[in-house]
Symmetry: C2
Subunit: 280 residues, 2 copies
């Protein structure tokens, strides 16, 4: 077995000492379960088995992703094809959360999202838009499309921008790619406004997952590859947050100025084995 | 003659009271002389005549632009075709300033600029890049191109990003368009760095124009349509700054939280007539 960093082996209230009192686990998806990329992407070694072990345990399990390139049904199907035992009902993503906010506030969005995400907004009135929703539009982040969103915002008396996550970048099989957060910042600067983030690290978003589990924050552990949005966001809600050294992990994360993970593990397989061993 | 706003009619040390002590004028180009757009764009009414009047006066005249879509020779030729009496030697723009910085610091750029600007960098070694230069790439701000620049930066131990200006947007004949500053912010956020701005509002850039004129800041007036980069930048150097209500001007500029123009005029023609009348 690989050695643990001393800073969390020594702390019983921390990870993995906290394992015995846990009742639930939330897993990030991209970069923890799989690396996205051409076709379906590829499963990260050991992660399919790790999900199986968690499901066979007495822990509740949910998946919490900022994935906004495809509608939930579609990317869950992709993960099922890769071999993961995952149901749509177990997965929380920003688009359905955004739809709820739009309907609650009577807002009609101009959408700057990938074509794959559009079905999530089928039920939403998009005529005469009075806000903008930006997701990970990837190749559809053209100059023209960003200008269109910019012009909608500058034309509004009270411009409102929703961003489906605020990630800086993510890893695909062929390298790092810019995430929605970079384009959110571009529009924030051009329009002199602050976006409302829907998805991780929003506390509202994490709380909706906890509500679904019926658990308190201290009973739940978040495992992700994004130090700020997964680990920091979960910690901000009172959960423990573990970072995996897969996906977008970079060694500099372990010297981050504001966020310190409760533990850092090589991959999901190592996290789950340690967690379940502690509970024996 | 149209009325002046009271806040500068009353102040003798301000505009237009300062006109008698002036020895030089610096003009922004796009939005002051012309609106860019399809073909050569269009001259703003009265501006061709206003430049003629300034050239016939005893004031020194320079042009200072953050234009980075085309090489200097090319966009000066465009303005000449529109009818302006302008020479390349009178025009200061960010690309030649950036080339000087790159050569001084021995840096080899990865360029994220429009094809039209590439000739400005002909003399620069671009192999094995150790920095990124971003300009107003417009349609070439594709997801792929922004990712390429992002990957160069994340691959460097000490990433350096030069931005040719930091404008938020500009006005073309068919509407407002995002400027380089928005994309600079996207890369700053994604890479956790601060760009070095070459061009307005950099004090170094304005100082190079003053040096060329052989004048002190208090002897020179800047006229522009960009409150922050033209007016604020000039004021930061000790010059007076006047904003025209053409180009990217928006009424909210007159209530800006940090920058207050020394005067606001309808257009360049009005600014020049007032200036020269005061000197009679």
């Amino acid at each position: 077995m690989r050695p643990w960093c001393c800073h969390f082996v020594m702390a019983d209230t921390g990870w993995p000492g906290c394992a015995t009192s846990l009742k639930g686990v939330i897993l990030d998806m991209c970069g923890v379960l799989y690396d996205s990329g051409e076709g379906d992407g590829v499963a990260i070694p050991g992660s399919i088995e790790a999900v199986k072990k968690l499901k066979a345990s007495d822990l509740q399990l949910r998946f919490c992703t900022n994935e906004t390139q495809a509608a939930r049904e579609k990317f869950v199907a992709t993960l099922q094809r890769l071999g993961f035992d995952i149901l749509v009902s177990e997965v929380f993503s920003p688009a359905p959360a955004a739809v709820a906010v739009l309907q609650e506030r009577g807002l009609r969005p101009h959408l700057l999202v990938s074509d794959g995400l559009l079905p999530e907004f089928d039920s939403v009135d998009k005529t005469n838009p009075n806000c903008v929703v930006i997701g990970d539009a990837a190749e559809q982040f053209t100059y023209q499309n960003l200008n269109d969103a910019f012009r909608v915002l500058t034309g509004l008396e009270k411009p409102v921008l929703f961003s489906l996550g605020q990630g800086k970048y993510y890893k695909e099989t062929d390298g790092l790619k810019l995430d929605v957060g970079a384009y959110m910042k571009a529009l924030e600067y051009a329009c002199d406004l602050k976006a409302e983030v829907v998805g991780k690290p929003s506390a509202t978003f994490f709380q909706s997952v906890l509500n679904d589990m019926g658990l308190q924050p201290h009973e739940v552990l978040m495992i992700g590859d994004d130090l700020v949005n997964d680990v920091g966001g979960a910690q901000h809600c009172g959960m423990k947050g573990i970072q995996v050294r897969t996906g977008k992990y970079r060694p500099s994360d372990e010297r981050h100025s504001t966020v310190t993970a409760d533990g850092t593990v090589d991959d999901l397989a190592q996290a789950v084995d340690t967690l379940l061993n502690q509970r024996l």
